[in-house]
């Protein structure tokens, strides 16, 4: 049995956890050849990789799609070969042919969970009549980034959280280093602020590092991110980081391989499997320490 997988990018932290988990799981299954490719965020390349797999005659394909709005093109490229979408939900999820399925999380949850928790914490700290802060975006061309930022704005739009005000938002491209520089730039204006929301953990950590370097007390600032990476949990353990969101890589990884094998063998599978996000705070962080 031969499975080919393509991932939107190899150097994404969370996807790496997913990827490596899948390699491990695939090795544990007898007679399974598992091969993975890097689409380096290039949609056309990913479509070609799927076509290449088909030319190769693999038995099933797993796709972590670069762009969720290109579901139709990927579906078409696979033809009759069984295909499983993993992690990201393609826009044609309701029209998938019987040879295809998907195993993913609903991206709308992640940003919302994190922002709402920060909102509640600010209220609890008695800042309910006005709090100002910054929002760090991931790559603006990335849909997860766009979605997570939109979630933040939606949360702030709610009555309960409309005391929150965004002073400025700017991209730091998922990166800790750029987040440090961006945060330092913001702080150089001297404006006081109460929270920092970031589209992922790396940027949140970068912001925390910059604030600590400037001598700020992290108890005064609420910081929220997404991913629950190990680095993030350790920063949380040190008391600097307040809110993040966990996404289950093992569940998605094994789930997608199992579905691919079943499809290749002609068995029926559920076409949609949602794996939920989980909010992580200092209270429950110990449950997640060795998960991602």
């Amino acid at each position: 049995l031969e499975i080919g997988a393509t991932f939107s990018r190899f150097d994404d932290n969370w996807l790496t956890v997913l990827r490596n988990g899948m390699v491990e799981y695939a090795e544990s299954i007898d007679g399974l050849t598992y091969q993975q490719e890097d689409a380096s965020d290039d949609l056309a390349k990913q479509i070609d990789q799927v076509t290449n797999f088909v030319a190769q005659g693999v038995d099933a394909i797993i796709v972590n799609i670069v762009d969720t709005s290109a579901g139709a093109a990927i579906t078409a490229a696979a033809g009759d070969t069984p295909l499983v979408f993993v992690n990201r939900e393609p826009d044609n999820v309701n029209e998938l042919p019987p040879t295809q399925a998907f195993v993913a999380s609903n991206e709308i949850e992640s940003g919302t969970l994190s922002a709402f928790e920060v909102c509640k914490n600010l209220r609890a700290e008695g800042k309910g009549n006005g709090a100002r802060g910054y929002l760090m975006n991931g790559q603006l061309s990335n849909q997860a980034a766009v979605q997570r930022s939109k979630d933040v704005h939606d949360v702030i739009g709610m009555d309960m959280c409309n005391f929150m005000e965004i002073i400025d938002e700017a991209p730091a491209n998922w990166s800790r280093d750029e987040a440090q520089d961006l945060m330092t730039n913001w702080m150089s204006s001297g404006e006081p602020f109460d929270f920092v929301l970031a589209n992922n953990d790396e940027m949140a950590i970068g912001a925390i590092q910059a604030m600590k370097a400037a001598g700020m007390d992290m108890a005064d600032v609420q910081v929220g991110g997404v991913d629950a990476s190990q680095d993030a949990l350790l920063v949380m353990a040190a008391g600097d980081y307040d809110v993040t969101v966990f996404q289950d890589s093992v569940g998605q990884g094994t789930g997608s391989i199992d579905a691919a094998i079943k499809l290749a063998n002609g068995e029926k599978v559920d076409t949609k499997v949602y794996i939920p996000f989980v909010l992580v705070t200092p209270d429950n962080m110990n449950d997640f320490l060795d998960k991602n």
Partner: protein
């Protein structure tokens, strides 16, 4: 004894030793790379003697694995279209870094004039404009895209030719500018659900058809027209071209415009192929387009090379990519191996060229 049919007398000129065209070296490199994959297929134990190019399923109608042949060229066709334009820019001793982001920006713009009103009976969820811009004839998005490309190219060319900005900087500025336009157009949201006629542009093997047709056209233009001759002359010695009375500035603007229009067209084909347009599209395309040209023997100092070379350079990249999938090379090694093979191909080319002299 001297063959002087094209000379004015003088030394012995042995016509049989006429210079061996550069393109043959690259073709040779291509064949060697294919042979290596073929051999690897026989040698590697887990490949079960599968063949790279040939059909092992024992059919009557073809000895080749057609699916593989098609994908080899299909996957480089779009970047190849860009490379045709970049080749011309490089021939003038310039460089064009803006093509990757230009692909994205054009894709966004063209696609937003190519949307359908109804998707499976529901209103288009990604609609950019109101109903007036829905289900337009296909010519409109195409012209919009090409016009945008022409505009960017004109700006690039004007900066390079009239303001004497180094091409690297002028097009790096446009690189940032076009990425910005792509992001700003729909604030990062993808644009999807094109009309059927727009989808046709990039469907199936159409990208290959465009690529080869454009390559043929520009091969002819570069070789047999005044435009081509002046392009080479400028790259060879810009000062001499100017002193010989070529309107160097106007010509450069034209070259950059043509290059950007080709990149814009690549953006149209790409968005049609993917049925979506997204601001992050085309990342690193500019580098790979340049790489195709240089692997194909186009000299970055200008004046030397041909479109045939670029097409062969594109094929080299296509074969490498398919080959890696074929030998089941893991993604994390693919980059390393790709780097080595590109260098090896050029070494081979250099080596042959030197031995000839």
């Amino acid at each position: 004894m001297a063959d002087t049919s094209h000379g004015t007398g003088g030394l012995v000129f042995d016509k049989s030793k006429r210079s061996w065209p550069n393109e043959l070296n690259i073709a040779l490199a291509l064949i060697i790379i294919i042979a290596i994959f073929e051999i690897l297929g026989q040698v590697l134990p887990y490949m079960n003697g599968q063949s790279f190019l040939f059909d092992t399923r024992d059919r009557f109608d073809s000895v080749f694995n057609e699916a593989r042949l098609k994908i080899i060229i299909l996957q480089v066709a779009i970047i190849g279209i860009i490379a045709i334009g970049v080749t011309q820019v490089i021939l003038t001793a310039g460089i064009d870094l803006s093509s990757g982001p230009l692909v994205a920006a054009t894709a966004m713009i063209a696609m937003s004039f190519a949307q359908t009103e109804l998707v499976n009976g529901n209103p288009n969820p990604k609609a950019v404009f109101g109903p007036w811009a829905m289900d337009l004839p296909v010519i409109i998005p195409v012209l919009a895209g090409l016009a945008f490309g022409a505009m960017i190219g004109a700006i690039n060319g004007t900066f390079v030719a009239y303001f004497r900005i180094p091409p690297f900087i002028a097009t790096l500025g446009m690189f940032l500018g076009c990425r910005g336009i792509a992001l700003w157009w729909t604030s990062g949201n993808p644009v999807s659900f094109p009309t059927e006629s727009y989808s046709f542009i990039g469907s199936g093997m159409m990208p290959v058809v465009w690529f080869l047709a454009l390559a043929a056209i520009f091969h002819f233009i570069l070789r047999y027209t005044v435009y081509g001759k002046h392009t080479y002359a400028i790259g060879s010695n810009e000062e001499a071209a100017r002193m010989s009375g070529i309107n160097v500035k106007r010509h450069k603007v034209m070259v950059y415009m043509i290059a950007s229009m080709l990149a814009a067209f690549a953006g149209i084909v790409l968005s049609s192929k993917a049925s979506t347009a997204q601001a992050g599209m085309g990342e690193f395309y500019e580098l790979f387009a340049i790489a195709m040209a240089v692997i194909g023997g186009i000299s970055l100092t200008g004046g030397r090379g041909s479109i045939i070379g670029t097409v062969l350079g594109a094929m080299v990249l296509g074969v490498i990519r398919s080959g890696f999938t074929y030998v089941k090379l893991d993604g994390s090694y693919q980059l390393m191996a790709m780097g080595s093979i590109i260098i090896a191909a050029v070494i081979l080319d250099q080596y042959r060229q030197r031995n000839r002299a």
